[in-house]
């Protein structure tokens, strides 16, 4: 599979993740990992900040457009682009240790959560930092499982 096809595959995975999240939330789960972000983190870690930010922007748009969508439209895209850019800064030459992947994913997953908290603070809303922190931790756990195989697929490495 060529590099461009792998980007499209990552975007499709983000779409599937976004759909799964809204469907699971509709069944009563209030804390769900940010599944649409995980392919962004994987490609950013293997390709760098600019491709990471571009894929983050596209994946954020997917999340914002899957009903019921986000408000304001485009906020998730900007936050995912920042997260992808940050994760891309964690790219290293050679195999990536799992603890490094986890650390980068933790920092990048915190970006959308922190952005939404700031947006809420800007609007004068009550904030729920404990809920946001739980969401980041759950996303990190999912990232530890899902991101390394995606990096392997994108870089063609046998092992991390």
């Amino acid at each position: 599979m060529g590099p461009a096809l792998r980007v499209i595959a990552a975007l499709v995975l983000s779409l599937v993740g976004a759909v799964v999240v809204v469907l699971i939330q509709a069944r009563g789960w209030s804390i769900v990992p940010d599944l649409a972000l995980l392919p962004v983190l994987a490609l950013a870690l293997s390709r760098g900040p600019v491709p990471g930010a571009l894929l983050g922007l596209a994946a954020g748009w997917v999340v914002d457009l899957v009903p019921p969508g986000g408000a304001p439209l485009g906020l998730t895209a900007i936050l995912y682009a920042l997260a992808g850019s940050l994760a891309g800064l964690g790219r290293r030459i050679g195999p990536l240790p799992l603890r490094w992947v986890a650390l980068v994913c933790l920092g990048a997953a915190a970006v959308p959560a922190a952005g939404r908290l700031l947006h809420g603070a800007w609007l004068g809303q009550q904030l729920a930092p404990a809920r946001a922190a739980t969401q980041v931790v759950v996303t990190l756990l999912a990232a530890i499982i899902i991101v390394p195989p995606l990096i392997r697929i994108d870089t063609g490495q046998e092992q991390l």
Binding site: V22, L23, D64, P67, P68, A71, A81, G120
Partner: protein, 271 residues
């Protein structure tokens, strides 16, 4: 021009375009471009969500009947209130304009729940749309009370802005005290705590809301977006009265938005 330079240009253009759409959406509700994008997203993904949601376990057999009963009960109570007022103010000329209530109730299932705000989910998607007679700004109820109002209607799905969303402020009346006010998402410094799903009731006149008092919708002109008499919740605690108007109280919503399944859209007469 290298691939890296091209990527940078694409990123800058994408971010600028996104910021433009975000600004339009934040500045004006239902601005043309953001709504067109949302409608496009719903047209593509709505049928997928509905199809996947149909594979989930069916709701309890009595759930649709309960949701419909609640909708019809609220309408009947509102009609009763209207009749009572008619008897007291029979000579008032504007009462002649009252007509028989002839609402339609469209039962639906929640197929998707969006991002969470400070008081829980802010938008949900239901599996009915314009082909079912649903249109913008209609009340959505569950068996226990008000859920929200429709803010985007596609052909087969609709998005509902739910109770507790930042953009939703509802006119409310205390059933016992008759005190009028608004119910909204809790702001910083409010008595209500959003993390527990509570909302804020703010009285608009002098008076003290009563603890455990039920709140219902005041209603809107032409019932757009809210039909009168729909249960919103009950007052959980009241701030200490300091002699000023705008007393605030914490409200426990009648409906647990995070566990919604079957709901009903109230289609007013002639829409």
């Amino acid at each position: 021009m290298t691939a890296r330079t091209l990527s940078l240009y694409a990123l800058v253009a994408g971010v600028l375009l996104t910021a433009l759409v975000m600004g339009l959406d934040a500045a004006r509700p239902r601005a043309g471009l953001p709504e067109a994008l949302r409608a496009g997203g719903a047209a593509v993904m709505g049928p997928v969500l509905t199809r996947v949601a149909d594979t989930f376990p069916a709701p309890p057999p009595d759930a649709p009947a309960l949701a419909e009963s609640q909708a019809r009960l609220a309408l009947a109570e509102d009609r009763l209130r209207e009749l009572s007022q008619e008897s007291e103010l029979v000579r008032a000329p504007h009462l002649s304009a009252l007509t028989e209530s002839n609402h339609e109730v469209v039962v639906a299932r929640v197929v998707a729940i969006g991002a969470f705000g400070p008081a829980g989910p802010e938008r949900v998607t239901i599996d009915v749309g314009s082909v079912d007679g649903v249109s913008l700004d209609q009340s959505v109820v569950a068996a226990d009370g008000l859920v929200g109002r429709t803010v985007r209607v596609g052909s087969t799905t609709s998005d509902v802005l739910v109770l507790g969303a930042t953009d939703l402020v509802i006119g409310a009346r205390g059933v016992d005290s008759g005190l009028l006010g608004t119910v909204s998402a809790p702001a910083q410094g409010d008595l209500a705590t959003g993390s527990q799903g509570e909302l804020t009731f703010t009285a608009i006149a002098f008076g003290e809301p009563r603890r455990d008092e039920d709140l219902v919708t005041v209603g809107s002109p032409d019932e757009i977006p809210f039909v009168a008499g729909l249960p919103i919740g009950f007052i959980h605690s009241v701030e200490e009265w300091t002699g000023r108007p705008n007393v605030e109280a914490a409200v426990t919503p009648a409906v647990d938005i995070g566990r919604l399944d079957v709901v009903a859209v109230i289609v007013p007469e002639g829409r």
